[in-house]
């Protein structure tokens, strides 16, 4: 798991995606080929911003082993200002949740390979105050 995590660190720590210069579409996770333009794709990196809106969410109770300490936790689809949708955890009380709420990205721990393994960090979201 270490190399596969490490390889995409820059897209996990920050909301960086890829943009197809040919059609202007933006994607996260990063893609090598634009699904609309295919061979005509021209891919560059783009900052997706740290603000978004909650499209939908679920409170997870039956969690994989590595997430058990965190449950119940909230998983959601967030539409960023750039229009891109990402899957991420929302760090807040379930009672605060509502579809359409404004959220902002924060840096959080996602898990670890046991007590002696490496720690996985990434982006989560919290409700926007303003």
């Amino acid at each position: 798991m270490i190399p596969s995590f490490w390889r995409k660190i820059r897209y996990r720590y920050n909301l960086t995606g890829t943009k197809c210069e040919n059609c202007g579409r933006i994607y996260h996770p990063p893609r090598n080929i634009c699904p609309e333009c295919r061979r005509k794709s021209s891919i560059t990196e783009v900052d997706l911003g740290d603000r978004g809106e909650l499209l939908t969410y679920s409170i997870v109770h039956d969690a994989p082993e590595s997430f058990k300490l965190q449950r119940p936790y909230v998983i959601g689809l967030i539409k960023l200002e750039s229009g891109v949708v990402v899957t991420s955890q929302i760090s807040c009380k379930p009672s605060e949740l509502r579809i359409g709420m404004k959220v902002k990205a924060v840096f959080r721990k996602y898990g670890e390979d046991g007590e002696d393994g490496i720690i996985y960090y990434g982006t989560k979201f919290v409700p926007c105050e303003e």
Binding site: Y27, H61, Q70, Q89
Partner: protein, 384 residues
Amino acid sequence: MRKVAIIGVGMSRFGELWDKSFRDIVIEAGIEAIEDANLEGKEIEAMYIGNMSGGRFLSQEHISALIADYSGLASLNIPAIRVEAGDASGGVALKEAYISVASGIHDIVVAAGVEKVTDVGSAMEIMDSSIDQEWEAFHGATLASLYAMMARLHIHNYGSSEEDLAMISVKNHKNAVNNPKAQFRREIGIETVLNSPYVAEPLKVFDSAPISDGSAVVILASERVARKHTDTPVYINSVVQSSDYLAVQNREDILEMKAVKTATRKALKLAKCELKDIDVFEMHDSFTITELLLYENVGLAEKGRGHELVRDGRVEIDGEKPVNPSGGLKACGHAVGATGIRQIGEIVLQLRGDAGKRQVDAEKGMAVNIGGTGATAVVSILGR
């Protein structure tokens, strides 16, 4: 392309089959299918096997050769092919088998599906491996939670309710009572569903199909050969597979299952029929919301109105469009890679009139088998 018929159907029981191994259950289903088709065994020219994760459930890969071997076909040296598409593996196996006969390459082939899940403790996490591991599962998303997000949005946008979803589970449990192969042959009340603990809100334990041991086998033959073996062939009018973005986040509208829509449209066209001509359905109710979304994406209901079908009983076994007379994945059991073939088996029994107490009056049937959150869909139309 030649016409292709199904001449034999076999199924193991579904459930926690503690005393049966992977090999035992697939052979159990296989023998039943061969007897049903009135074959000796050596007529089989190829095997297509749907299996999601022998590697993780059993640490056993190369299961294609294993199954051919234990089916007693090692000495015939036939080709055996394992296909994988999450829990749509069975449907894809059927499609591959169909192509091999329709194209004229083979005359008699086996399409099988099998999964043995109870030899490990973490079946759910293995099930979840059909979602995007790097960008969904890494963040704590599970298969259930992705469907739960769809359910949440459907309820929010269209006024469906947790009760509507629960009624789908109630219906499927009721149907399974009359299916001797089913895992849960008991009726449940809506309270049982609503009072069960949340898996991923708003989905509960009783909104979710079990992960089961089980196997299903169908035997395909060209029309000419079929007539030699059976008086009641059931024809595969069409079988179409489609794909979509793997991760839910990349789909334009998460309540739109484009793979299902595309496959349905093409399948109906190839079968030269319309949805109104289909009398019975087997649909992939991995969660109650999955079945509800399939009503809409197959076209039984308009978008945002799937729950109305549940409310007016149109999808009940005695309704206008019976869905999951077998009990579906929820109550018949979800043996992952076997499910797509199990659905086909049910449609064949229904069309032949061999479905016993759960018999529906049907000329044509449709099976909808999907992988994970819908990135693979296989739609099959069968007719007498």
